[in-house]
Structures are given as structure tokens and as C-alpha cells.
């Protein structure tokens, strides 16, 4: 490897070059994300399986969700992906103050998403739409369209709704926590032109969480609306 490659201050001793180090970090992060794809994939499969069986009940449950809150949150999360991508770009260009600014913007947008999720969840608790002994189904939203729906099968929809959005929200909470820890080193200039693997790796994670929501939104909110 060239002398120039060895001159990178951010180069760890086990790597031949900074490029190799960068590739390794990126591959490691992708290996983790492939695992995450399979983790969420299991729940998406359960969703497909039960929706095929209980389409009517899934539409009934879906109608009780607020489509405008879901669409708003989708826009907020896409916006947070943009600010995250710009934070990574700032790291690639060695602009430390810009990294901090874009991380804060991403955290604010992520928090807005979670805040809306709290409103949606508390609404579900108030209407007794949480699966379990206190589950009640009155078909308020469908105005009689789903009167014959089996409450037990609607609970399967809501079980999947809470499991999938819950794990998605958990990933966002973890992400916001990691961003909090990233602020100080970013401000101190730890991530510069020679050392920005961490920011790039975290960016991959945040975009993955965005992709999960891109699928969750139509599957959970937009069933049988026509």
C-alpha cells in the first residue's frame, strides 16, 4: 500500500489502507442490516400470511388508524433521512459543525415522529383497540361496513400493528440515543476527512429504519380505503 494511505491518522493498524478500513466498516454494517432485514422480514411474512386469511378484518383494523397522521409521519421520516444523508455528506467533506447541525435536525424530526406515534398509541388505548382481555370493537370508523368483522381476527391485525410499529419505534429510540452520543465527538472534530466511517455506518442504520416505515405505512394504514 502507498505511503499516502499509511499517513491517514484515522487508520487502524490491522488495515492496509484507509480504503480497506472503510470497506470493512461498510461491509460489517451491511451484514448487520441483512440480519435486520430478516428480523423485520419475519413480521412482514406473518402480516402477509394473516392478511391473506383475514383480509376483511385487516381492512377493519386499518380503517381505525388516522391516515393523515401516518402520512405526516412518513413525510417527517423521509425528511429525517434527508438530514441524515446531509450529515454523512458533511462528514465526508470534513465539516464538523454541519455534522452537528444535521444530526440535531435528524434527532428533532425523529422525535416528532415518535411524538405522533405516542398520540396514535394513546388513541388506540383509549378506544380499547389494544389486543387482550379489554379489547372492544365498535366499528366507529367504518360506519357499519365492518360490523360483521370477527374481533378476534381484528386483534391479530392490531398485534402485528403494535409489534411492527413498536419494533420500528424502538429502532428509532436507539438511533436517537446513538446520535446524542455522536454530538460531542462531532463537535470536537473527531470525524473529519480521514475518519468518518462511524457517521456513514450510522447513516446506513437510520436509512434502513426509514425503509421499514416506507413498507409499514401502506401495509398498515392504506388497506381497503377505496
Amino acid at each position: 500500500m502507498s505511503e499516502a494511505a499509511h499517513a491517514h491518522p484515522g487508520l487502524h493498524h490491522q488495515f492496509d489502507s484507509y480504503e480497506q478500513q472503510r470497506q470493512s466498516a461498510s461491509l460489517g454494517m451491511w451484514a448487520f442490516l441483512v440480519n435486520e432485514v430478516m428480523f423485520f422480514g419475519g413480521m412482514f411474512l406473518a402480516y402477509a400470511y394473516y392478511r391473506h386469511r383475514y383480509g376483511h378484518e385487516f381492512a377493519a383494523g386499518s380503517h381505525s388508524l388516522d391516515i393523515s397522521l401516518g402520512a405526516f409521519n412518513t413525510a417527517v421520516l423521509i425528511g429525517s433521512s434527508l438530514t441524515m444523508a446531509l450529515a454523512v455528506r458533511a462528514a465526508q467533506m470534513g465539516r464538523n459543525k454541519a455534522i452537528v447541525a444535521f444530526l440535531i435536525a435528524t434527532m428533532v424530526l425523529g422525535s416528532v415522529f415518535l411524538g405522533v406515534k405516542v398520540i396514535e398509541y394513546s388513541d388506540k388505548f383509549e378506544h380499547h383497540h389494544v389486543p387482550g382481555p379489554s379489547f372492544v370493537w365498535h366499528d366507529e370508523a367504518g360506519s357499519g361496513k365492518y360490523a360483521g368483522a370477527d374481533p378476534f381476527k381484528i386483534q391479530i391485525y392490531f398485534s402485528l400493528y403494535f409489534a411492527m410499529t413498536g419494533f420500528h419505534a424502538l429502532h428509532m429510540i436507539v438511533g436517537i440515543g446513538i446520535m446524542l452520543l455522536m454530538l460531542r465527538p462531532a463537535w470536537k472534530g473527531k470525524w473529519n476527512l480521514d475518519n468518518h466511517n462511524f457517521v456513514e455506518g450510522f447513516g446506513l442504520y437510520w436509512h434502513f429504519v426509514d425503509i421499514v416505515w416506507i413498507f409499514l405505512f401502506p401495509l398498515l394504514y392504506l388497506i381497503g380505503r377505496s
Binding site: S17, E19, R22, Q23, S26, L27, W30, A31, L33, V34, V37, M38, G41, G42, L45, A48, Y49, H52, I67, A71, T74, A75, I78, G79, S81, L82, M84, A85, L86, R89, Q92, M93, H196, E200, G203, L204, H207, F208, D210, I211, I214, F215, F217, P218, L219, L222, G224, R225, S226
Partner: protein, 99 residues
């Protein structure tokens, strides 16, 4: 080798495309297309995910090893779905003697 830095307009362009696609998917949900509603909703979701993977996650400019990782995740997901749903969707198609 230096890091590929995408121009700002790429990120803003992808962001705008994602927003427009979100608006389209909400709008189409209220139009009755029969079974095609699901196809359109999933098609738009896959398009949005592809944009995020290629440009926000930089896979368009990544090494072939990274591209292989992405394809492998889709492939394993495909196996998971195809084998389970091949059972689920074909149940009862053939009569079972004595049942």
C-alpha cells in the same frame, strides 16, 4: 481512492421524489383498482426503498461486495416468503382422499 461525495441536488432530488411518491400512494389508496391497489402500493414502496438504498445509502457508488450483500438480503427474504406462501396460497387446491 477517495470517497465519492454526492452533489447536494442528488439528495434533494431523491427527497422530493420520495415525497411525491408518498402523496401518490395515499391518493391511489382512495381509488378503487380492485386487487391492483395492493400491487400499486407495494410497487411504490419498492420504488421508494430502491431510491433510498441506491442514493441515501450510496449503494449506487459502493463496491460489488456491498451490492452483493444487498442482493443477498433480498434473496433470503424472497426464499422466506416464497416457501411459506407457496404452502399457504395452495392449501386446499387438491382434494385429499379421506378428508
Amino acid at each position: 481512492m477517495s470517497v465519492h461525495v454526492s452533489p447536494l441536488r442528488v439528495y434533494v432530488g431523491v427527497f422530493l421524489a420520495l415525497m411525491v411518491l408518498t402523496a401518490i400512494t395515499v391518493g391511489v389508496a382512495f381509488v378503487d383498482l380492485g386487487p391492483l391497489n395492493n400491487v400499486v402500493a407495494l410497487g411504490i414502496a419498492v420504488t421508494k426503498a430502491t431510491l433510498v438504498v441506491l442514493f441515501f445509502m450510496h449503494v449506487a457508488h459502493s463496491s460489488r461486495l456491498i451490492k452483493l450483500s444487498v442482493v443477498s438480503s433480498i434473496f433470503w427474504l424472497f426464499l422466506l416468503f416464497v416457501f411459506i406462501l407457496a404452502d399457504d396460497l395452495t392449501r386446499g387446491l387438491l382434494g385429499v382422499a379421506g378428508k
